[in-house]
Symmetry: C2
Amino acid sequence: MRHPFLLKAALLILQSALTRKLSAFVSLVDDDLETLARFHQRRRTFMPGHELVHEGEKRQSAFVLAEGWACSFKILPDGERQIVDFQIPGDFLGLRSILFRTSDHSVQAITRIEASEVLSSDLLNAFADAPRLATAVLWAASRDEAMVVERLCSLGRRSAEERMAHFLLELGARLNILGIGDLTDFACPLTQYHLGDALGLTAVHVNRVLRRLREDNLLTMRNGQVTILDLERLKGLAGFDANYLDQDGPLLR
Amino acid sequence: MRHPFLLKAALLILQSALTRKLSAFVSLVDDDLETLARFHQRRRTFMPGHELVHEGEKRQSAFVLAEGWACSFKILPDGERQIVDFQIPGDFLGLRSILFRTSDHSVQAITRIEASEVLSSDLLNAFADAPRLATAVLWAASRDEAMVVERLCSLGRRSAEERMAHFLLELGARLNILGIGDLTDFACPLTQYHLGDALGLTAVHVNRVLRRLREDNLLTMRNGQVTILDLERLKGLAGFDANYLDQDGPLLR
DNA sequence: CGGCCTCTTGAGACAGTTCAACCTATGTGG
DNA sequence: CCACATAGGTTGAACTGTCTCAAGAGGCCG
């Protein structure tokens, strides 16, 4: 560290969504932050629909999403798509694709996005330099897994309306943590096809479900804006408990 | 290391299923193995049905499964159960419950099991002492996530028969990697209720599905023994591609 | 202006559920 | 050692949530 003051200033400016997210779990010290900042070289812009990570291809990069929305998905042999999750700023894109020889999923930009490429070596070097980062990344991956598990419960045991309610509550909570939008009123660029492919429904049925939720005065979704009208009743319908997002302040000091 | 020879001998004997699994991803050196061996103090036995990890409880331990079968699951507000995955020797039980303040899931023994308790501090110390282990554990967690993702695809986009076929093929592959049973003929202690709760079906429908698969000469499942009669046709039906199990020899040297 | 994407609604079909009954194997207390 | 309870498995009949197919409307962009 030749210029500690300048460096620290630079780090504060660079405070990325990822840094904020990981800091919510472990208290990162300057060395950790410096190491983490290396993840943010190689920043790039991608247009909507661009596929950043390709299922079945080897030796791929991961990315850290800085701006915009993306989704990770698998295509089944019959051409059907299952969306696994949507990513918002601070989320990893294709983390498993640098740990696995061959990527088991694809990632696509939904809006115009900005993302920094992270090479396999970046990650492994970071773990050697800053073991606390390893814990933080494992935590972030576990939080992603917790969301997939919750979605699994939705597809396995919840009705279409419960799924939709649960999904939109989760989305609101995630965006709210980031400081993007409100718990009950947020912008959302997803189409009804996206929702269907994520929730294991057809787009046609998504439309009917949204209509019923609207007619029940529970929520509206129009022109890319979700407005939750009756939060408590919606939570009751969905059986929503934000526990699994594990968001209440740093655990590890 | 006072007695390098004795230590190494001890490590070889201690070669646990976990060690073998992680070694399939990173080449672990003696120091790593020694650190890993600490995960295997506090070995305990649990009877069938015993709940080792409790959803909603704080400050819980994780375990490494050494013998037997377990399952991780969530209970929804209406009392329905969604089984997230089954664990076999070498798998972590409740890893997320030491990373999260509050466990987001429960874990229960299916057969009589042997498992070693792993404290939060064990894991964090191990990461500091042996950064390669951090990578290996992240890989193991990612592999678990890949299985959950694949199950998500099943529940979202596959028919009941395709789900069952896919699930049993995955199980055969996992057991085969461990050297327990054959790809096409293995012991399986799961009831039709377990299968239903894992696959998002009722036990009644599981029964009908198994009958149809049997009548099609694809597989039989009787008295805790699964026998796959026509592997290729079953793989075709399920759209099964073992890629996501990422099993082809050490990646990281 | 025409084409494409997204949303909307209706009618009929079907995969999987629900409820209910019965069967077999295993274990347990009297 | 029988009586009974319990857990797992099997099958039928009726029901229903979601899908499929089909058609049309609105908005945006080249």
